[in-house]
């Protein structure tokens, strides 16, 4: 329960690959299986985008065990980069995505380096404050949109070899969101087995062992933070094309609470946990909405109650229940 899930034995790599391919194909056709309506496409696209957004926080929270409250900043960097570069300079999707990655890495490196020598909760404080300050700057700086934001972002265009991929409608945007989600999942799964991922986990689980092996926990924190930023940033990048609008509302604490809740709801250190968490939460808000203020109460309560009563999330709850069975 404390370590990562034990990996399936390597003796059946073919079966495992077949399973992954099968699930991916089913996932790709899921909107059509759900009726192929534009509501199905838009809800699933939103789930995919939000899940990718949550994976950025997941990397920091699950594997490093620290809390970044500044990922709305990277989310907004993605959105604002896509909006500004495509509206003002007519750049295509690849260029805006690359710019998003570069800017997110730069911002994360700066924040991480400044807080390198501070205690953990100062790191959380500074990341939280950074998001608030960035909101004020975005709200007041008319050159990047100001309080009105930027409206009328053109459809996403991704030139690919000979053809140009365009994402004008929700059903055209779905493949992009789905591929982004798959790439993110592949990246996280790779990260969990990487040297950095296992070291981060060691720092979290056994700081004494990490110290005795000469690991500097603060450098690990910096590296993991920098890796996590572009993930959330790329989600914001696609969100800007989906909504065709960005504004200071991208900094709202809703997104921050959403990211944290999606990660803790199913359970930390579960690969598909944030995806399921995001899907459950978006489904509640889109299909069983109780109105904006009640949705806030639901989302905040889920976050607080899960951590207070079942810190290991739904997975932990399931394990406890199945263990109690005779």
């Amino acid at each position: 329960m404390t370590a990562i899930e034990s990996r399936p034995p390597a003796s059946m790599p073919l079966l495992r690959t077949a399973c992954i391919v099968g699930v991916s194909v089913i996932g790709f056709f899921l909107p059509r299986l759900l009726g192929g309506t534009s509501a199905a496409y838009s809800t699933l696209t939103t789930i995919a985008i939000f899940a990718v957004m949550c994976y950025g926080v997941d990397v920091v929270l699950s594997y490093l065990g620290e809390v970044s409250l500044g990922h709305t900043l990277f989310w907004s960097i993605g959105g604002y980069t896509a909006a500004n570069l495509s509206v003002k300079y007519g750049l295509n999707g690849w260029d805006t995505a690359l710019a998003t990655i570069a800017l997110c890495v730069a911002a994360a490196a700066f924040l991480g380096a400044v807080t390198l020598r501070t205690r953990e909760f100062v790191f959380s404080l500074v990341t939280y404050a950074a998001a608030v300050v960035a909101y004020e700057v975005a709200f007041n700086w008319d050159a990047i949109g100001g309080s009105d934001g930027i409206v009328g972002i053109a459809a996403l265009k991704l030139p690919f070899v000979v053809t140009t991929f365009s994402g004008a409608t929700e059903d055209e945007l779905w493949p992009v969101a789905f591929v982004l989600l798959l790439l993110t999942l592949a990246f996280i799964s790779r990260f969990r087995r990487s040297r950095l991922g296992t070291t981060a986990l060691m720092v979290q689980m056994n700081p004494a062992l990490a110290a005795s092996l000469g690991v500097n926990p603060r450098r690990i924190r910096l590296a993991v933070f920098i890796i996590s930023a572009p993930i959330t940033g790329l989600a914001g990048w696609l969100y800007a094309y989906q909504r065709a609008y960005v504004g200071p509302d991208m900094f709202e604490s809703y997104f921050l609470v959403m990211m944290l809740t999606a990660v803790v709801l199913v359970g930390r250190r579960v690969l598909i946990g944030p995806l399921i968490g995001a899907a459950l939460l978006i489904a509640q808000q889109n299909l069983l909405s109780l109105g904006g203020d009640w949705n806030k109460i639901v989302l905040g309560s889920v976050l607080a109650l899960v951590l207070i009563f079942w810190p290991a999330g739904l997975v932990g709850l399931y394990r406890r229940l199945s263990k109690n069975k005779p």
């Binding site: 409250l69 404050a129 300050v133 004020e136 203020d293 989302l299």
Partner: protein
């Protein structure tokens, strides 16, 4: 001449920052706990005061008392719910839980008080004092005096009384303190309730200066962070000095550089300090 007025404005702003940050400073300094719902508690304190004055018709001092009682009761419930996390010193989970609870408070307050900006009516905040070319309001005087008195009282209480040393013992090592017959749960409970009361008082005193909104908690809290970290994380004298210093800084920055970017400038100040002195100004 304008400089003198900016110094007055700075002290006015700074005493407000210090007043709101007092609860957090105590919570962090003597109990080593964090509370990311602080901004929403501030918002709630302001709205309960507003409700008591405009809807119930209580006089201002009684409305302050009502706000403190409501927040004390709320603080009791929150802390009881979080007790297991508090006793295990699980800061990571505490940060996230309080953030979630803050979000619940924001949604709940919007349901109860509505989404419109409101203004706390205060006779004191409209009573201007003019000293030659300088001006301020009686509310500002009240905030400054209350802040200085509160900080003095809290400093005396934590440094000079037996209960103060009990709290510090619990902060150092809750398990060891329990061996010496101290009930750490009760101490944590009291400190958290004190934080809620202090932020309610701060809100009731400071909020009449500007319109209040149920969504303001997220942004209001940043100055508290800056004060607490600048002041050296939990140092009472440091927080007071940092609050006043930050007030002067924002007053001058707002007047001479750019009003819209004062929060950003305060944050830049914080970042610069974290690089030079990661543990804050008050440490040796």
């Amino acid at each position: 001449m304008n400089i003198a007025q900016q110094i007055v404005n700075g002290i006015v702003l700074g005493s407000g920052y210090a007043c709101i940050a007092l609860g957090w400073t105590i919570l962090l300094g003597v109990a080593r706990l964090v509370n990311f719902a602080h901004g929403q508690l501030y918002m709630l304190g302001a709205f309960v005061t507003w409700y008591a004055v405009t809807r119930v018709g209580l006089p201002y001092p009684l409305a302050i008392l009502a706000a403190m009682l409501v927040l004390a009761a709320l603080g009791l419930l929150i802390q009881l719910a979080m007790m297991r996390l508090v006793m295990s010193q699980n800061l990571t989970s505490l940060m996230i839980v309080t953030l979630g609870l803050g979000y619940v408070l924001q949604g709940g307050s919007a349901l109860i008080f509505g989404g419109n900006p409101e203004t706390l009516p205060g006779t004191l905040s409209r009573a201007r004092v003019e000293l030659g070319p300088l001006w301020f309001t009686w509310q500002d005087v009240l905030v400054l005096i209350a802040t200085l008195a509160l900080y003095g009282a809290v400093w005396l209480f934590t440094q000079r009384t037996r209960f103060g040393s009990v709290i510090r013992a619990v902060a150092e090592d809750p398990k060891l303190a329990e061996l010496f017959g101290i009930n750490a749960r009760v101490v944590y409970l009291l400190v958290f309730i004190f934080e809620c009361c202090a932020v309610a008082l701060g809100a009731a005193l400071v909020a009449p200066r500007s319109p209040i909104l149920t969504s303001m908690g997220f942004n209001e809290v940043i100055m508290t962070f800056v004060v607490v970290v600048l002041g050296g994380i939990g140092s009472i004298g440091g927080a007071l000095a940092a609050g006043l210093g930050l007030g002067l800084f924002t007053a001058f920055f707002g007047a001479y550089v750019a009003q819209a970017y004062t929060t950003a400038a305060a944050f830049a100040l914080l970042l610069a300090l974290l690089v030079i002195r990661p543990a804050g100004l008050a440490t040796k």
